[in-house]
């Protein structure tokens, strides 16, 4: 099979995967919203409504008696499911403890596992990530790991029993889009787990591209919360996710080196006279 035929085949398989299901739970929306970066709870609430997300992430921090309004109340009122993350953890040990605290606090055994290895790029620490995933799976968690776009690491995470893989497109909050679409395609090809693009989306087209590459879903936080108009961007990215998914299912035309006319040559009028 040629490389192009191979990619087309992988995309057709991705399109045939059907509804968005994680650990047996079907999700209506393929867009997962990260709640970080909104300037107010009101704006967050409006963005949730505009983007239609059913699953939204939260982080866990020391309780702040001076905090205004309750995030959990806002999210409960919006009718969304909480996906706690382990953001800010740099070791497997801290991530595992944070996941256990989240389970206790919110009564969910789902966790978006983040184990960061570098403060400047916030790139995942592959070794600690696999270690934490292994322990959390053994402890009964549904583990959704934030990972690099390394297909081998994605395979390791699948091997230890993760429920999905969440490769980055580019660093968190960078808005650089999908830096290595080839790696993303490889991850898609090799696994039957849900693949959720996490991090790097800067605008709607990045989300559409992720879906066209066969991702099952896209997680966005900064792209929406830090846009000039977060609610309008929430709407745009929702549309992009839908459009990308539809395009995947529709099956794109192959790329060609040269033009292929869509008008027939047969029956072309002879207009230059003489003959």
């Amino acid at each position: 099979m040629s490389a192009q035929a191979h990619i087309a085949h992988a995309q057709a398989e991705a399109a045939a995967r059907g509804p968005f299901v994680i650990a047996g739970r079907e999700l209506r929306s393929r867009l997962v919203l990260g709640t970080g970066g909104f300037s107010s709870l009101e704006l967050l609430s409006a963005a949730i409504e505009a983007c239609g997300a059913e699953l939204v992430t939260v982080a866990l921090r020391r309780i702040d008696p001076s905090a205004r309004g309750s995030l959990v109340d806002v999210l409960d009122a919006a009718g969304v499911e909480l996906l706690p993350n382990t953001a800010g953890c740099f070791t497997a040990r801290d991530a595992v403890t944070t996941a256990r605290l989240a389970r206790e606090a919110f009564g969910t055994d789902w966790v978006k596992l983040e184990v960061i290895g570098d403060e400047r790029t916030l790139l995942p620490d592959a070794v600690e990530l696999v270690l934490a995933a292994e322990q959390l799976v053994a402890d009964g968690f549904v583990v959704l790991p934030y990972t690099t776009d390394d297909p081998v690491l994605a395979r390791r995470l699948e091997d230890v029993g993760c429920a999905a893989v969440m490769p980055l497109g580019s660093p968190i909050g960078s808005g650089m889009g999908i830096a290595n679409p080839y790696n993303l395609a490889l991850i898609r090809e090799q696994t039957d787990l849900p693949v959720i693009l996490d991090a790097g989306v800067g605008t709607a087209s990045d989300a559409a591209l992720a879906m066209e590459h066969g991702c099952d879903g896209v997680l966005c936080a900064s792209a929406i919360s830090r846009a000039q108009d977060p609610v309008a961007m929430a709407r745009a990215i929702r549309g992009a996710v839908d459009a990308g998914r539809l395009a995947l299912e529709a099956g794109r035309i192959p790329r060609r080196r040269y033009a292929e006319a869509s008008s027939p040559m047969h029956g072309l009028a002879e207009l230059s006279g003489g003959g």
């Binding site: 970080g36 999210l75 953001a87 968190i172």
Partner: protein, 42 residues
């Protein structure tokens, strides 16, 4: 703290204390107590 402690979790010396055990858990002098809740985050 919210009624019933929804959205709140406690760790003592790095170990999670389940809500049902809050009442009965004694805190030793010098123990590290962490009380956490949800904040907005990606």
């Amino acid at each position: 703290m919210p009624a019933g402690g929804r959205g709140v979790a406690v760790a003592v010396d790095g170990e999670v204390v389940p809500r049902a055990e809050w009442e009965a858990t004694a805190i030793a002098d010098g123990a590290a107590v962490e009380i956490v809740t949800a904040v907005a985050g990606g």
